[in-house]
């Protein structure tokens, strides 16, 4: 006789929507999510709605004040500040949007694997992770960027590599919490191999912790990316980018403050949006996120 039950496990789609609902039910989460969505949407449709071409220079209109033609004025080459601000997040979102999942993926898999294996290999790996974490992020990244150049094809793997290292720690700690539980022991007793255990027993249980970690990594990666741009090691001109725009407009702050204020608002609103969403996501998934300093 078939056993019938009214209980049905929520599918992934249902679970996704319930988490989104939970995030939106908190004011900070709703604001954060709205900010992130509008930035992503802007990155997608930006080129179709901006009033000017972002490379059009105008020698007669250098550093002009806000006017009907240029709502936020123009920069030191006579380019429209509003246009460049609206487009300034595209590169950053593209790079960090690809690098974040990569970082979580490789850091998560390595962390789970060594959390399961344990023993001496695990100890050695953690020492290496500690050693990497004790170097300032900017030094690690600059070495690779100076070596291989500054294009997207260098920035994405560089960010993904270095930001995956702290994920190893999180994944390993989360795995340690699960590894001693009965269902993992049962899987071992059934004779499953390591990779089956990782795939079927461990990953589903550390997934939530990794998602929250990924959201936080995203904001830190964005911070790193824009700082690199600001220092002149990120996006190359004339591509509009907030970090680069602030660096360029800094010298003319006293004549045209909008040149720095507009990109500052763009960058800050995206980063704050991601942070608010990440906090709400952590609460929605029931992950207790310990206080950590940025790496």
């Amino acid at each position: 006789m078939a056993v019938t039950s009214t209980y049905r496990r929520a599918g992934p789609v249902q679970r996704f929507w319930s988490v989104i609902k939970d995030i939106c039910s908190r004011p900070s989460g709703a604001i954060g999510l709205a900010l992130v969505f509008s930035h992503v949407a802007l990155a997608l449709i930006g080129p179709f709605i901006v009033p000017y071409d972002y490379t059009t220079m105008n020698a007669a209109q250098m550093l002009s004040q806000p006017s009907a033609a240029h709502w936020l004025g123009t920069d030191h080459l006579g380019r429209d500040t509003l246009t460049r601000t609206l487009l300034g997040g595209r590169e950053a979102i593209l790079v960090t949007g690809i690098a974040t999942p990569l970082a979580v993926l490789w850091g998560g898999l390595v962390g789970v694997f060594f959390g399961l294996v344990g023993g001496r290999v695990d100890d050695v790996l953690m020492r290496i992770v500690d050693a990497f974490l004790s170097l300032p992020w900017i030094l690690k990244m600059l070495v690779l960027i100076v070596t291989f150049g500054t294009g997207i094809e260098v920035l994405i793997p560089t960010l993904a590599f270095f930001y995956g290292i702290p994920v190893i720690r999180i994944a390993r700690a989360a795995t340690h919490d699960v590894v001693a539980r009965d269902f993992v022991q049962a899987a071992r007793a059934r004779g499953h191999g390591r990779f089956t255990i990782i795939w079927q027993e461990l990953l589903p249980n550390v997934r939530d912790a990794l998602l929250v970690e990924g959201a936080m990594r995203w904001s830190w990666m964005l911070l790193a990316f824009s700082s690199l741009s600001f220092l002149g090691f990120g996006v190359s001109p004339p591509t509009p980018d907030w970090g680069l725009m602030i660096a360029d407009a800094r010298g003319f702050m006293s004549f045209s403050p909008w040149g720095v204020i507009a990109p500052m608002i763009g960058l800050s609103s995206l980063i704050i949006g991601i942070n608010l969403s990440a906090d709400a996501l952590a609460k929605a998934l029931g992950i207790d996120r310990a206080q950590k300093a940025p790496v």
Partner: protein, 319 residues
């Protein structure tokens, strides 16, 4: 307890050793070496070979690593190829300037964070707490170069109170850095305070809700005595580690802030040295920063152990 202290110190030393290997490998993969940087366009043929032989660059990597590490241990960080000067001398002034910046931020930031964090926790969810917490989140998440530029715009360009850029040379006496150093210190303090404050606040709130704090209130201990005698000593213990992490972060975050303010510190020197391929200087700075990071974290662990009675007496309970 003693064995635990030894164990932690040994782990710290191993970490520094691994860091030195990573630094060495990292600098190895940088294109060019001290000779190509020194000779620039003439870096070819016999000249390059002679230079490499003079500096010992033709030897295998492990030999050079051994020599570098041994010299670094005795405080000799090598000679810069361009000026033929001691790196320890070049780095010394920069380190002093960065320490001025860092100590200013630490001296202002820690008391401020403790005060604001405790008050915000005691007045939880009141307007004061909401304002402080929101400002802290904003200060933590916004990139340092943005908050630095904002402060320059407000206090230097609009109000004209303090200079927004540092023009003092790196080896000037410390007194000459005032008032230029105030704005960089303010930015560092802002970010540091935000990080520490958040931990202090949540830790105090957690402790206030604990059984023993409630018990103290119920048996008639006055509120303020409960706060000062029962809550704060327990709540502030975990903040030692966050303070350490924040100080360690400070050394990396200072790179961007020094560049914004044109401040002649270690961080800006690091960026310059990487761009110029001045490899010995890069190695030296990386090693200094990493050692400070490991050292501060180690100190925090030791302090926590000494201050925490449960860890102090762990061996008595046979743990």
């Amino acid at each position: 307890m003693l064995s635990m202290l030894m164990r932690r110190s040994a782990l710290g030393l191993i970490t520094v050793w691994l860091v030195s290997i990573i630094i060495f490998i990292g600098v190895e993969i940088l294109p060019g070496d001290a000779c190509t940087a020194f000779l620039e366009r003439e870096a070819q043929g016999l000249l390059l070979e002679n230079c490499r032989r003079d500096l010992g660059l033709d030897r295998p990597a492990w030999m050079r690593y051994g020599e570098w590490a041994a010299n670094a241990l005795s405080g000799n960080l090598g000679v810069s190829p361009d000026g033929q000067r001691q790196i320890s001398e070049l780095v010394g002034y920069r380190l002093r300037n960065t320490l001025l910046l860092a100590s200013g931020a630490i001296l202002c930031g820690i008391p401020l964070a403790l005060f604001l964090g405790i008050v915000a926790a005691l007045w939880r969810d009141r307007p004061f707490d909401i304002i402080v917490s929101t400002t802290a989140i904003a200060a933590m998440t916004i990139p340092e170069f943005v908050s630095a530029t904002l402060l320059i715009l407000i206090f230097s360009v609009w109000l004209g109170w303090v200079p927004g850029i540092v023009l003092t040379s790196s080896n000037a006496p410390l007194a000459e850095f005032f008032p230029e150093v105030l704005l960089p210190i303010a930015v560092l303090t802002l970010v540091m305070t935000a990080h520490i404050l958040r931990t202090v606040r949540s830790s105090v709130i957690e402790t206030l809700a604990s059984d023993y704090a409630q018990m103290a209130l119920l048996k008639g201990v006055p509120y303020w005595q409960m706060v000062f005698r029962h809550v704060l000593p327990n709540a502030l213990l975990p903040t030692i580690n966050v303070v350490a992490l924040t100080i360690a972060w400070l050394l990396g975050g200072v790179v961007v802030i020094e560049t914004v303010f044109n401040y002649p510190g270690l961080g800006r020197m690091m960026i310059d040295s990487i761009s110029d391929r001045d490899l010995p200087v890069t190695q030296a700075i990386a090693l200094i920063i990493a050692s400070v990071y490991v050292g501060v974290n180690l100190l925090a662990d030791l302090l926590t152990m000494v201050a925490n009675p449960r860890l102090r007496t762990a061996h008595l309970r046979g743990k």
